[in-house]
Amino acid sequence: MEYEVVIGLETHVQLRTRSKMWCGCANEFGAPPNANVCPVCLGLPGVLPVANEEALRLTVLTGFLLHCAVPELAKFDRKNYFYPDMPKNYQITQYDRPSTANGWVEFETGGGRARVRIARAHLEEDVGKNFHYDRYSGVDFNRAGVPLLEIVTEPDLRSAEMVYDYLNALKDILRQGGISDCDMEKGMVRCDVNVSIRPAGASELGRKVEIKNMNSFSGVRKALEYEYARQVEVLCGGGQLAQETRRWDDAAEITESMRTKEQAHDYRYFPEPDLMPFAPTDAWLGEVQARVIELPLARKERLMRQYGLPAADAETLAGDAALGAFFEGIAPRAKQPRILANWVINNLRARLAETSTSIQAVKFPPAAMLELLELVDTGRISGRIAQEVFAEMFATGDAPEHIVARKGLVQVSDAAALEPLCDAAIAAHPRTVADYRAGKTAALNFLKGQVMKLSHGKANPNLVGEMLQRKLQ
């Protein structure tokens, strides 16, 4: 029998706020243990939470980006369970009145497009982190109280690959929207999956298994691949699946049972009496609405449409907001936006990466890129020289015109100057000349390269080509 996999995701994302959810402590990764703590986030007796308004805004902004509805009223609840990393032994979260719900994410997968419904995105607080040593354990509460957004999908995902693509699309949206830095290595994104299988074509859902403890998107993909195979094997062997929670063991690459339905926690949710329900006003919503960005997928399509870019380039620019903005800042004035995109991606981006520079720190003004392309376009410099000019621009911030003039890089299109160089190349490579004449047209390129070398790259390559062809006829 063929089995279909049905997957739903709960993705936890740390919000990009300056301070924590209920207190003024810094929301910062990498500080020494328990450096960013205060009576409130340590849950000392007598303290009270005060909601971080930016976290509330980012939650609603996420709702807008994920096409969710924003209910008139949201509230917080207490989720009760004991764990040493939980300062209060209850987590403040949103149980039945989340800040935002009922939306969708559209993304590319399997060569097409898919839409996954978002059940809800709610705000809660992160917990601390336990460290285990030989004879004792320690808890670092720096992370305790960091605002955490939980984004829950409907069971709309149908393969491990699709999940992987969804997660990457979601990450792009959240990063570009300024919601979260989504740095996996810093634990800013964590996700739990719910997975079941059913005979292909069936409408009823199978027994749901929750998998926890994946710490990378590829880990999620692997866990789902493993779990699908495991479940199919159990059913094909005539066995029954249990509704349970399983843990992904990243080293062994297997899932193992943590607890069954019977052992499930009773979280005893109830409304958080220390916080008032939150009813956003129209003005408040308007301010958040003003922060909505164009989604990466929409931007990719627009870049293709508006500038005629190939899909790959459009995707690169849409996926890197800063680079995209750089491009779009000058693209309307470019004669050939496609070529500009090429330069931005292959030269500028590469240089930025090589030198670990941020785009804000680029020394030349964006319009200098247009000037550079103009020099090539009008034949004043060759494409090869343009590379050299760009490197200089990047290093010094000097205008391309200046660089060309200063270094004497103007393209040589003077036939009288090029004649002797072509003759020299022909004379020096009789075998290549013979090959060419025997019909190996590619040999011409070699000769052309020799002339370019002799001219220190300044010769007009088209002219050189024509001249060589004529001479060898």
């Binding site: 009576p39 340590l42 007598g46 009773d266």
Partner: protein, 487 residues
């Protein structure tokens, strides 16, 4: 005998330099040395810190910083549930063993800013759970009128300390009557402000939606002075009302003509002590003679209040007290794993009443029971609030006994929690409704001679009316001037 004065009297004498803040505090400390061995209102006392505060108050006065500072140099004791930076914060519980607060409660900050000498940790029922202060892990407090009797609770230490002249005023907290009931049983004035009027930041939570801090004093005017100092919006408490500090002193004048007072029909219950009843009846007649119009009103859902309270309060408490787990502070009894450590720590750290309430609260929130208990209780709570709001459309304030009986003997109700819970039958609805209530002395039982309290309840933010009514009554009577026999 500076310790026996009211705040108003002492402030006037401090202002005239008849006495220094240090001398006033010393009088309190001497009185504590004299009686507290028997009374046991104080759990601990940092004399050096208190004297330093008194000296600072004197210095402030010498520098001329005393204008509009009626609390400058006034010694005020604190229930062991309020956080004071550098002082123990124990809630009369073993589980907070050794815990020193690293921060000040908002009310403490405000009192210190006003120049009050904030001193001592006074006894209470553990985590404010109880009506007799017998649930303290550190021994019971006596009633200054009869040491064999209880002072009420949970703020029994605060009431006893004020009644016995160990301090000029004290702060307590009131979740279901924990200020008003001990104030009544010890013969002082106790105020439970409107929910949200006084910041709860730094008040160790018992039941967050019900808890409110308030003063114990020996006069109505004194309570208004303390309330003025501690009230007002606090950005650190999200449930704090967007109101400035409330000054009720200006409302304290004149007779009660034009004031309508309601007597809730449902508060006329069986089991009310005849002496309490006759004292309250006499007080009502007195209020009428002062010009108030007396009307009967109905609060139809009163009979459900105690049950509703014990569901909501315990549910919130079960979560609020979850943090005492031995991981970060207080008592820790190690185990082989965290669960064992929790069980041992909490098993040894909490007393029986606290455990009883945590279990009850955990139960009413459990899956499958939530709707029948917690959700239903919340609905009834709304009905109870509506009862009051409707009554306050007819009358300015309500008048009731504070407690059904005067102070009972220590040990009398320890084995009967239900009997104990009924001590708060007249005070609980006020917390559920979030309104304000004040208790003041209105007489004594004959044999033995024990104080009786009159409760006045007002609408949300109706403190001015409470003070006007209470002050007019107080000025017409002399109950508040009676001193307990403890020497």
């Amino acid at each position: 005998m500076w310790n026996t004065l009211t705040i108003s009297d002492l402030a006037a004498r401090l202002g005239r330099r008849e006495v220094s803040a240090r001398e006033a505090l010393q009088a309190c400390l001497d009185r504590i040395d004299q009686v507290d061995g028997r009374l046991h209102a104080f759990l601990s006392l940092d004399r050096a810190d208190a004297l330093a505060q008194a000296d600072e108050a004197d210095a402030r006065r010498a520098r001329g910083e005393s204008a509009d500072q009626p609390l400058l140099g006034i010694p005020i004791a604190l229930k062991d549930i309020l956080a004071v930076r550098g002082q123990p914060l124990g809630c009369a519980s073993k589980i907070l063993h050794g815990f020193i607060s690293p921060y000040d409660a908002t009310v403490v900050e405000k009192l210190k800013a006003a120049g009050a000498v904030v001193f001592g940790r006074v006894n209470m029922d553990e985590f404010a759970m109880g009506s007799s202060t017998e649930n303290s892990a550190f021994g019971r407090t006596g009633n200054p009128w009869d040491l064999d009797r209880i002072p009420g609770g949970s703020s029994g230490g605060s009431a006893a300390a004020v009644a016995a002249d160990e301090c000029l005023a004290a702060l307590g907290s009131d979740t279901g009557g924990s200020i008003r009931q001990p104030a009544a049983l010890c013969g002082c004035v106790g105020l439970k402000p409107t929910y949200g009027l006084v910041s709860r930041y730094g008040l160790v939570a018992f039941a967050s939606s019900l808890d409110q801090i308030g003063p114990f004093t020996r006069s109505v005017r004194d309570a208004a002075l303390v309330l003025h100092a501690i009230s007002g919006h606090d950005p650190r408490d999200s449930t704090s009302l967007p109101e400035p500090a409330i000054d009720c002193a200006a409302a304290i004048h004149g007779d009660l003509r034009g004031i309508k007072l309601g007597l809730p029909r449902e508060y006329r219950i069986e089991g009310i002590d005849p002496e309490v009843k006759s004292a309250v009846d006499a007080a009502v007649r007195q209020l009428e003679s002062l010009g108030a119009e007396i009307l009967e009103v109905s609060l139809p859902h009163t009979q459900y209040a105690v049950a509703t309270y014990y569901i909501i309060a315990t549910a919130e408490a079960s979560a609020n007290l979850a943090r005492y787990d031995g991981v970060r502070y207080g008592l820790r009894i190690d185990g082989d794993d965290p669960i064992e450590m929790y069980a041992r720590t909490r098993g040894a750290g909490f007393g029986p009443e606290v455990k009883r309430r945590i279990i009850l609260g955990t139960y009413v929130l459990s899956s499958g029971y939530y709707d029948a208990y917690y959700l239903r209780a919340q609905k009834v709570r709304t009905l109870i609030r509506q009862d009051f709001l409707r009554a306050f459309e007819q009358v300015d304030a309500l008048v009731t006994p504070t407690t059904p009986t005067a102070a009972f003997r220590a040990g009398e109700k320890v084995d009967n929690p239900l009997q104990m819970y009924l001590c708060d039958i007249f005070t609980i609805p006020c917390n559920l409704a979030g309104i304000c209530g004040l208790s003041l002395p209105c007489g004594f039982t004959r044999e033995p001679r024990l104080p009786i309290g009159l409760q006045i309840l007002g609408p949300p933010m109706g403190e001015r009316t409470l003070f006007k009514v209470a002050h007019a009554y107080e000025q017409a009577t002399s109950w508040h001037r009676q001193k307990p026999p403890i020497q």
